[in-house]
Subunit: 338 residues, 3 copies
Amino acid sequence: MPDAKFFNRSQSFTLSEIAKLSGAVLADGVDGDQVMENVAPLDIATQQDLSFLDNVKYKEQFSKTEAGACFVQSEMVDIAPDGVALLISPTPYKSYALAAQAFYPNNTAEAFRSKNAHIDDSAQVPKTCVIHAGVVIEANVEIGEYVTIESGAIIKQGVQIGAHSRVGPNAVISHAIIGEHVNIYPGACIGQDGFGFAIDPAGYIKVPQLGRVRIGSHVEIGANTTIDRGAGPDTVIGQGTWIDNLVQIGHNVKIGKGCVIVSQVGISGSTVIEDYVVIGGQVGIAGHLKIGSGARLAAQSGIMKNIDPGQEMMGSPAVPIKDHMRQIIALKRLIKKK
Amino acid sequence: MPDAKFFNRSQSFTLSEIAKLSGAVLADGVDGDQVMENVAPLDIATQQDLSFLDNVKYKEQFSKTEAGACFVQSEMVDIAPDGVALLISPTPYKSYALAAQAFYPNNTAEAFRSKNAHIDDSAQVPKTCVIHAGVVIEANVEIGEYVTIESGAIIKQGVQIGAHSRVGPNAVISHAIIGEHVNIYPGACIGQDGFGFAIDPAGYIKVPQLGRVRIGSHVEIGANTTIDRGAGPDTVIGQGTWIDNLVQIGHNVKIGKGCVIVSQVGISGSTVIEDYVVIGGQVGIAGHLKIGSGARLAAQSGIMKNIDPGQEMMGSPAVPIKDHMRQIIALKRLIKKK
Amino acid sequence: MPDAKFFNRSQSFTLSEIAKLSGAVLADGVDGDQVMENVAPLDIATQQDLSFLDNVKYKEQFSKTEAGACFVQSEMVDIAPDGVALLISPTPYKSYALAAQAFYPNNTAEAFRSKNAHIDDSAQVPKTCVIHAGVVIEANVEIGEYVTIESGAIIKQGVQIGAHSRVGPNAVISHAIIGEHVNIYPGACIGQDGFGFAIDPAGYIKVPQLGRVRIGSHVEIGANTTIDRGAGPDTVIGQGTWIDNLVQIGHNVKIGKGCVIVSQVGISGSTVIEDYVVIGGQVGIAGHLKIGSGARLAAQSGIMKNIDPGQEMMGSPAVPIKDHMRQIIALKRLIKKK
């Protein structure tokens, strides 16, 4: 069960309460009054713990689990071990997420302002905020209610951060307008100059980067990720988009709503990513392209041209995923022939 | 136009003044006394704004722009919309860069030293410098005139930084000798130990990393980029080289003058990159290699052997770019045959 | 020789002393009383310097070196230039490492606690520790003897760090249990939330990340590397594993003992890496996989399925290294045919 040094459990719940808050239903014969004390993974859960099976790779763990209760899809009921109370859900991972949020709510800490934070007099920082030691908030910054700024984070002049957002330790934010419920992880750098210069025999000439970064609400930005501000237009991240660690987003990039961008992706300047695009780890996307809504780019792909909506691409340079699979097979045959 | 919360415009300029400072010439019939208030991208520029067309991909935006004036190459004059005063330049992007620098000069802020900076008594920090809150400057550091060190940056003992350089928020610098007009972006880590160990059955044995990092003048080093110090020789970055975000440069690497290294490139230990090499995003270069002057390595290439000067390479492992293109076509044919 | 501004030499040594501490033997005729003042690379070493030849690529440098003494394998004795005292070792790099450690011991600085560090009253920080300016140590942190925490590092509540470990400047650590003699480089982020969410039409639902990061002893973690904490299970790094800069390690990943993970590698969630696995730069590994003990993954490989122990893989998607080499040759032939 979660280490109490790091995580504060709210309370225990009955299976009926859990079913209700998670959108699951109790399997036949399950006692709704049975109490769950905690959540835990299948392999270490005990009779007091609630667990879940979502990925068939963990079917065997499920068949041996000692969990007291478990979210599963109805297809898995038959392989359940004895003694596990089943909560049936078409989306066990979602149900687990809701239950885990109930056991471990994301409470904002009580309002607090470290005397070791350096806040400019002209900055607006509501009393409901949590401001840790070593934070620097420069002139004319505007911070919303219930925002948490963790130790060592630097908020440069004029930045706006919406209510309920959180800035992780040692993150750096400049030239940015940030929505509500945004979560910025440690070490992320947002709003620095883009990589903009004009070629000249006497040495590259820096092009002043005069745009901003605009980030919609409910966005997540991973640890040590870098987002350059626009060169003239803004760099834009749409509402509800999740960005993982160590991602690079170049100047003027526009990302739509609900995209998922996995770790170490690089998106070059001025490229447009429409809504609900999913980009696998280490993908590279050239500049000035358009990636259509709902496209899916497999890990390590290299994208050198526009991608139509809904396309699934793979390889470097990327081709439709089926063609890529056939290329792989063709290559294997080629070396077997000899 | 640029957000006045973040950017301070210096003044307005007449088209004659702009032509003069940017190396452009006014097209026939343009009124040199017409005043430009600001710079802006083609799609949002108004009658008071100066814009530019550099990439043909934006020809359509150009044909509809409401900008008051625009830098263009002479070939584009014919498709210019009515009402736009044209400034003809063989290098519109360079001309724009110079004009934008005039509107938004990179003024060093007035000299300032936060009382919340921690500066060792033995460090030399001229009165012309700007030192923000939370900065740590350790013993025997030597900083030149007009240097800016932003909040949370850590300058470890003995480091030298030349005049007019800038160290971004939360950057970390140790064991380094840095030239003038160098721009280090937030979160960059320079001078830490390289990845040096000797294999031994009892556990890897750390090899003391006894070199430094030497950085020439007019170098740019991107956000969250990491540059390890030498193991014995120094790691060297030549004058005027531009390095983007999240780049890894291993110990003993020597990079020449005027190179361009795009985001997420990794250069392994002891490799030599000669002058004016251009390295696309996510390229990986093995250790102990030599990349000849003026070589160009396409994005995502994997470089496993020496590259001759001027070569253009692509693929992983990289081959000359024409061969790579033919391989791609051959692969496409291969799967069509069946 | 190493710059005395940055490195403190302990003393000089005779060749006999050096041979003894490094496991080398003096070649015939070498005077064991000859004194070495320092260590230096082959190309800049002088008569007072000790050097080494390990990689045959540097044979020519060796043949011209002016070093006073040099570690070499016995096969290289014949090409040694006159005047260099040879120390014969089957593992010259290891011998050099031991000698360099003697010249430049990794002394912990004298115990010191900056008055500008912010340490919660409930944190345990022994008097033997070195705590620099700007450090934040939160509630209930437990730090072992002789630990060094460099400027700007943030240690969040409840974290445990074993004796003799070192945390670099501006590193951020939360939700972690860290062993002894662990070396965390600047800017590394350890213990933040993993990339965990459930898909839902109304917006992604965050899954509380309730595990920790557990790091064994003698582990190295590179600059700006990110290690997410577990989602329920812990993320685990085994004893003696070396991780380079800008590496991403996802939630629930288990890494065994003595692994080597080169820069910019990405390891997706829940993957298991067994002992002594070597992973080249920029490799990407998908989630929920098992990489067998002693496997070797070439740089830029893309790993999409389980890898057997001892396998050597290359390519994206990765195949056994011999097959990959044959694929490369086959592709080259294919474009020559026409």
